[in-house]
């Protein structure tokens, strides 16, 4: 399994760079992935989405429906793509430490 190095710590990721376990997440991880995403700085808007995703994941064990994410955050999909250029799944979820989505999605 590949690893990423965040603040001197080795963290396991899958082949697409998603964390293997959400427990290894910290803010440093989000900052690490931010560079890959081409995001210059994590603003309050980024954190709003990241925190929402994490809260939902801890409650339900999966990422929320994209539409729900948009509605609850007040950002439309276009705005989500502006914040996370790879989109809600490959971008926002990855920064939030969620595992790669599975199933026919």
């Amino acid at each position: 399994m590949p690893h990423i190095e965040v603040d001197g710590q080795q963290i396991e990721v899958d082949e697409d760079g998603f964390l293997i376990t959400i427990d290894n997440w910290n803010e440093g991880v989000a900052h690490y992935f931010m560079k890959e995403e081409g995001i210059e700085e994590l603003t309050e808007e980024h954190w709003k989405l990241i925190n929402y995703l994490r809260d939902y994941f801890f409650q339900f064990g999966i990422a929320p429906m994209i539409r729900k994410l948009c509605k609850e955050s007040g950002f439309n999909l276009k705005k989500v793509y502006q914040l996370f250029p790879s989109g809600p799944a490959k971008g926002a979820c990855k920064l939030a430490g969620l595992p790669k989505p599975t199933g026919c999605v």
Binding site: F60, G61, I62, M65, P101, C104
Partner: protein, 537 residues
């Protein structure tokens, strides 16, 4: 490049360099992205020595001689079990027919979209992997003597041939177009699936998306997406609010209604990726006044997928049995499968063979949708779908189950005359979307390249060719109706990969969304690409 050479130690068994050309405007240079380069870590750790693609994460290159010997031993015992009536009771008959009677006429090759799209790559011939199995079995059973070699057992059973075969079984969509054309009625798609079973059931090797992130997850949480009962109920609540906002009407989604006439079951990926699809079902069924329900039982009432049918009988049986048990528990009269091709076939065809308990009538949504439209209590206006429309035929319920006409009769009722055009070929002679047998969800390493550039190439070509008059005009919407979750995923990916939506306004979605879009009682359009920006999400 012959089956008997598969064990020879070359760096890469074959190289793809002359893919079939795409039609205009994709015949111009720069219109098709290049292959992603192969990483050294993939070459070292996995099997990149077949065709330069890697898709099977658990097919790891052994690092010691002992591990290598162990892998070969397991493969051989798996092969023996596969070809024995005691251990492969459900499938031995069709397997042996195809194993023993192939005349190697190669008629099937001409029918295979992967063979054709690859520019005629030998290893993708439908009979290639079957022939490897034949040779290996003969060699294993009779040793490597002169007579065996003469009879066809001239192959090296070594780590290289086994690893390459483990990737090669994931170069076939199991679409069974080859079986349809075979003059002897033999099924090389079935052969491929059976060889996958050696790797999965005996060696514990399968793509993660199918196994850990697929059947294992479905049995643990209720869905391959990981949707638990609590998450499912949360989604339904959200969908009810969403529907009210769109329609101005309060729809109550019936959940766990005991004794309902119909239990509707979707591919749970729809809730996550295409929620308009289950929403459209709610509108149609409620407007038709059906006595229906969805099921929230987490073992397994709200996800109709069964990835086990692609690679592992044991997983398939457990999932199929749980789905039937959930419906039995609710006491419904019949199950209706939503717009998911592989679930249609898994539940209605495969389960008849491998899980015989708890029989319950299991039907397709398409004839029901047609009945609803024919006896409708609501108005429809086809001019609300006034753009060119083509339809993709999912292999699993079209070729394998013969459900061809209902979709077309529906389209004729909801799309203006002259706007519908068939793909060439279509119906039972259709080509696979390229996502079949798990490919739509296999995204590790550079497997996406194989899917988008080779497996889905024929479908992309067909889509472009269905709109010769309008393809280059981005002001005209072109709609690819893809009534299957898996096909939708593969088609979404090619439209994005070739930038067909961005450049040429080619849109896609299912069939039921088109029906709802044609209903006059709603002011706003239902199709997402027709909505105002503020109504998009």
């Amino acid at each position: 490049m012959k089956p008997q050479d598969l064990g020879k130690p070359t760096e890469q068994f074959c190289q793809l360099n002359k893919l079939q050309p795409l039609p205009p405007p994709y015949d111009q240079p720069g219109m098709e992205p290049d292959f992603k380069p192969l990483k050294d870590s993939w070459k070292e750790g996995y099997c990149a020595t077949l065709d330069g693609f890697v898709g099977n994460e658990l097919l790891k290159r052994p690092t010691t001689k002992e591990a290598e010997d162990e892998m070969i031993k397991k493969f051989l015992s798996g092969m023996e079990k596969l070809l024995s009536a005691d251990t492969n009771r459900n499938w031995i008959q069709p397997l042996m027919l195809s194993f023993e009677y192939c005349a190697k006429c190669n008629t099937c090759s001409e029918a295979c979209h992967i063979f054709e799209s690859s520019g005629g790559m030998e290893i993708y011939r439908p009979i290639f992997r079957s022939e490897v199995l034949r040779k290996m079995y003969l060699k294993h059973k009779q040793g490597g003597g002169l007579l065996t070699r003469f009879m066809g057992g001239n192959i090296d059973i070594n780590i290289e041939s086994i690893m390459r075969l483990g990737e090669l079984v994931y170069r076939c969509n199991l679409c069974r177009r080859c079986a349809q054309t075979c003059p002897l009625g033999l099924d090389n798609g079935l052969m491929t699936k059976e060889i996958r079973k050696i790797f999965s059931m005996e060696m514990g090797i399968a793509p993660l998306a199918l196994h850990e992130g697929g059947t294992v997850k479905q049995l643990a949480t209720g869905s391959s997406t990981g949707i638990t009962k609590a998450a499912f109920l949360d989604m339904i609540e959200f969908m009810e609010d969403d529907l009210e906002e769109y329609t101005g009407k309060k729809y109550k989604v019936p959940i766990d209604k005991k004794g309902a006439d119909i239990m509707l079951i979707h591919n749970a990926g729809e809730f996550m990726a295409w929620p308009d699809n289950p929403l459209a079902f709610v509108i149609l069924f409620e407007e038709a006044g059906l006595n229906w329900t969805m099921c929230s039982d987490d073992l397994i009432g709200y996800d109709n997928v069964n990835y086990g049918v692609w690679y592992d009988d044991a997983q398939a049986r457990k999932i199929g049995a749980a789905q039937k048990a959930a419906a039995k528990k609710l006491g419904v009269k019949r199950i209706i499968q939503g717009e998911c091709g592989h679930a249609h076939r898994a539940a209605m065809v495969s389960m008849d063979r491998i899980s015989v308990d708890d029989h319950i009538p299991n039907e397709s949504c398409f004839p029901l949708m047609l009945d609803i439209l024919k006896n409708r209590k609501f108005e429809i206006d086809p001019s609300r779908n006034n753009f060119p429309v083509t339809i993709h035929d999912p292999c699993n319920y079209v070729r394998s189950m013969g459900i061809v006409k209902p979709q077309r009769e529906i389209i004729k009722m909801i799309v203006p005359a002259g706007q519908f055009r068939e793909m060439t070929p279509h119906g039972v002679n259709n080509y696979c979307c390229g996502g079949g047998s798990g490919f739509a969800i296999m995204n590790s390493f550079n497997f996406e390249d194989f899917r988008n550039k080779i497996a889905s190439r024929k479908k992309f070509e067909q889509i472009i060719a269905a709109f010769p008059d309008t393809i280059e005009n981005p002001d005209i919407i072109k709609y690819v109706c893809a009534p299957c979750s898996n096909c939708k995923g593969a088609i979404r990916d090619i439209l994005e990969y070739y930038q067909a939506t961005e450049k040429f306004n080619v849109q896609y979605d299912g069939l039921i969304e088109l029906i709802i879009n044609a209903m006059t009682k709603f002011d706003k359009p239902f199709l997402h690409f027709l909505r105002d920006e503020e109504d998009q999400f």
